[in-house]
């Protein structure tokens, strides 16, 4: 009943709906919009070129996004023509030294876009390079073949002696995502639990309710109810993100993306070889990652960490009268949580260091740290994962017990600002 109320009143709030829908949408937008902008066909920018060197005419050719027209008229006249006919701008190439071209200017009505500027620069550069290569007698194809790029694949030998390929980059991203999600969700919903308790206390309804149910039930109901809200939100996020990406993938023309890749490939075939190998490896790795395990472990750590921190937050809420007072007690609870995010970089450097292992066992830091380590160790479930889970479960029992003790007394004491000493006394008070 309590769980239901806590859950329903929160889920029905407009802010919950907005947060649930908007967050994945925003995330998706951030990812998709640049892609979409990049693939969209912009109208060709027409540029009038005045080439006093006479070197580029015929070599500088438009490619659909930028079109060039060569003119012999003086630059002033070109400018007038350009701006009166709505052309993009005028490219002024003075009689430059081919070995050291200086003084090339793009004159536009409004500031030139970086995209156009880079495009022109790139084209001019290639023309000049080709020219120099030709003079030196080097074939461009040969040069491209000389350029080498190395990609090291990583793999581990598991306890059955089989070699499994790993992918550090992918593991990194998944680990980071996992621990950050845990961190954010626990923080948000832990504080919500605390607020809920403070609200009940300050509105004094708590006395009515605990004359019907036991304080412990009320606290547990609140924690579980809010936890369920968090879980719902996470599932909505996961579901929406997944569906948005699938839809977006369909909408965005796949050929177009491939074209883009090929366009890049033309420019840098050698790099591309390594790229493809890396992409292949990433794909393989994504396939080889035990997503079932990671999601399962994530859910476990999310729920467990929430219960662990949620009960501490509830205890804080019960002990104080206002949220301002709560800050004093919040710090020691949130500090390890923040700490576990701060040390992620160190964990990343060596996911199997003793520091990493210990931090993933200590219950205060274990959820975030373990999520970070998990993709690195997921191929073989090791003893420390079980130990970490076990310790966390035991700790939940301890913290909820302590929290219930504080809660029971705290919820009805008003006016006194509790000290740590007093809280300690409450924990060991008999009634």
């Amino acid at each position: 009943m309590i769980i239901k109320r806590e859950y329903i009143t929160r889920v029905r709030k407009k802010s919950f709906l907005i947060m649930s829908l908007l967050t994945p949408l925003l995330l998706a937008l951030i990812m998709i919009v640049p892609l979409w902008l990049a693939t969209r066909d912009a109208p060709a920018r027409e540029i009038l070129v005045s080439d006093k060197s006479g070197f580029f005419e015929g070599k500088l050719v438009g490619d659909g996004t930028v079109e060039y027209d060569f003119y012999d008229q003086p630059i002033e006249i070109l400018k007038e023509i350009a701006f009166s006919t709505g052309k993009y701008g005028v490219l002024d190439i003075p009689d430059v030294d081919i070995d050291d071209p200086k003084g090339i200017t793009l004159i536009t009505e409004h500031s030139a876009s970086i995209e156009v500027k880079m495009k022109i620069e790139d084209q001019l550069k290639r023309i000049l390079e080709d020219h120099k290569l030709e003079i030196s007698g080097i074939d461009r194809e040969k040069l491209d073949n000389i350029k080498t790029s190395v990609y090291i694949g990583t793999s581990v030998i598991n306890d059955k002696g089989q070699v499994q390929s790993t992918h550090t980059e992918v593991a990194y991203i998944i680990g980071y995502l996992g621990s950050f999600l845990i961190y954010i969700l626990i923080f948000a919903y832990g504080v919500q639990t605390m607020r809920g308790v403070i609200e009940e206390k300050t509105s004094r309804i708590v006395e009515v309710i605990i004359s019907s149910v036991k304080p412990y039930q009320l606290m547990a109901g609140k924690i579980i109810g809010i936890g369920a809200v968090g879980l719902t939100q996470f599932l909505i996020w996961a579901f929406l993100t997944f569906s948005i990406y699938s839809i977006a993938g369909l909408l965005l023309d796949f050929d177009q993306m491939q074209q883009m890749n090929q366009g890049g490939a033309m420019q840098n075939t050698a790099m591309n070889a390594a790229d493809t190998e890396m992409i292949k490896s990433v794909m393989e790795k994504i396939d080889s990652i035990n997503f079932g395990l990671i999601i399962g472990v994530f859910l476990f750590y999310f729920i467990a960490a929430y219960l662990f921190y949620g009960s501490l937050f509830a205890a804080i809420g019960s002990a104080v009268d206002t949220e301002t007072d709560a800050q004093q007690f919040q710090l020691p609870v949130t500090l390890p949580l923040i700490f576990s995010i701060v040390v992620l970089a160190a964990i990343l450097r060596d996911p199997n260091s003793s520091l990493a292992i210990w931090l993933s066992i200590i219950p205060f830091t274990s959820p975030a740290v373990m999520m970070m380590r998990l993709p690195f160790i997921a191929n073989e479930i090791s003893w420390d994962l079980y130990l970490s889970m076990g310790v966390l479960v035991l700790s939940i029992i301890v913290t909820t017990w302590v929290a219930a003790k504080i809660y029971r007394i705290g919820i009805l004491s008003y006016g006194t600002k509790p000290s740590y000493k007093l809280l300690f006394k409450w924990i060991f008070a008999k009634n």
Binding site: R5, T9, S203, I205, V206, V208, S211, S212, L412
Partner: protein, 304 residues
């Protein structure tokens, strides 16, 4: 005499402070019981022990003769002195929730709510948030919340604070109606006029100790000081040593009102006979002490 609730030698300490010291009270079924005492005497603590919010350090509570359990608590309706409701929740939902956690099935809660909403004529409050109601309106909602589950024992801690006289009267009527319907009511207050009006039995708690309890009428009898108020024509003179005049007022011409105090052993009739010989008696009444007087004399007396 049947008791719905008894406390046996309840003692409760908060740290070094003794909030209740060996308090035993018995509450008669179907009556209104006044739990009286000055601020900080321990009334609220005792109530919280009865509602199982606190556990007593020693002593026991019996409900219908059996030791108090969680199930019994569901049969108690409690209106705390510090009122509170979820501010952002709608009135209807809130009351349904409060009824449900008392173990009522949903249909039943709705049916009872309809009854109360019609009674108070507040049907249109259903979808309002508590925030939007005035203080007096919130009090009414809180009152409904404490009786929604038709408790057999209703504990009202200062039920009239925050009500204007009209609404206080409505609540008073409802309390009497609930009693009529068979509920027992514990009524905790330090306002004596409502005690005078409503209570059948009282207990007086002061400084953590019960100093007095019993039937209201009996307590008044026990505390009477043989004071009589008479109206009479003619001067009242020549009384013997057993009776002395405390005070005389002229009402009209030779109509007087006199307050007398007699010695304990003189019966009402003897006193009347004595008076009839002297003057013409228009009215004769014994003046019993008010609960207020008793409260002040007992509590004040201990303070000295």
């Amino acid at each position: 005499m049947e008791h719905i609730l008894q406390t046996a030698s309840i003692t409760k300490n908060f740290g070094d402070f003794r909030a209740l010291d060996d308090v035993s009270i018995s509450i008669e079924k179907g009556k209104i019981f006044g739990l009286l005492g000055p601020n900080g005497a321990g009334k609220t603590t005792l109530i919280r022990i009865i509602t199982k919010i606190y556990a007593a350090d020693s002593g026991k509570v019996f409900f219908n003769g059996k030791e108090l359990t969680e199930d019994h608590v569901l049969k108690i309706g409690y209106l705390p002195e510090e009122r509170g409701l979820y501010k952002k929740m709608k009135v209807g939902e809130q009351l349904i929730y409060l009824g449900r956690i008392k173990g009522m099935p949903l249909d039943h809660v709705k049916e009872r709510l309809k009854y109360w909403f019609q009674k108070f004529d507040i049907m249109d409050w259903w979808n309002k948030k508590i925030d939007e109601l005035s203080k007096g309106m919130q009090q009414k909602i809180q009152f409904i919340a404490s009786v929604i589950h038709q408790p057999s024992l209703i504990i009202l801690d200062e039920p009239f604070t925050g009500f204007d006289p009209i609404n206080a009267n409505i609540i008073k009527k409802e309390i009497l109606q609930l009693k009529e319907d068979g509920a027992t009511i514990i009524f905790s207050t330090h306002r004596m006029e409502s005690v005078e009006e409503l209570c059948d039995n009282i207990a007086l708690i002061n400084k953590s100790k019960k100093i007095l309890d019993g039937a209201k009428q009996q307590i008044k009898e026990d505390h009477k000081e043989n004071i009589f108020e008479i109206e009479h024509r003619g001067d009242l003179n020549g009384l013997n040593g057993f009776v002395h005049v405390l005070n005389t007022k002229t009402i009209h011409d030779d109509l007087y009102q006199t307050t007398l105090q007699s010695a304990t052993q003189i019966s009402h009739n003897d006193l009347l006979r004595l008076l009839i010989d002297k003057v013409e008696i228009m009215s004769f009444a014994e003046k019993l002490p008010s609960i207020n007087d008793i409260f002040i004399s007992r509590v004040g007396g201990i303070r000295e």
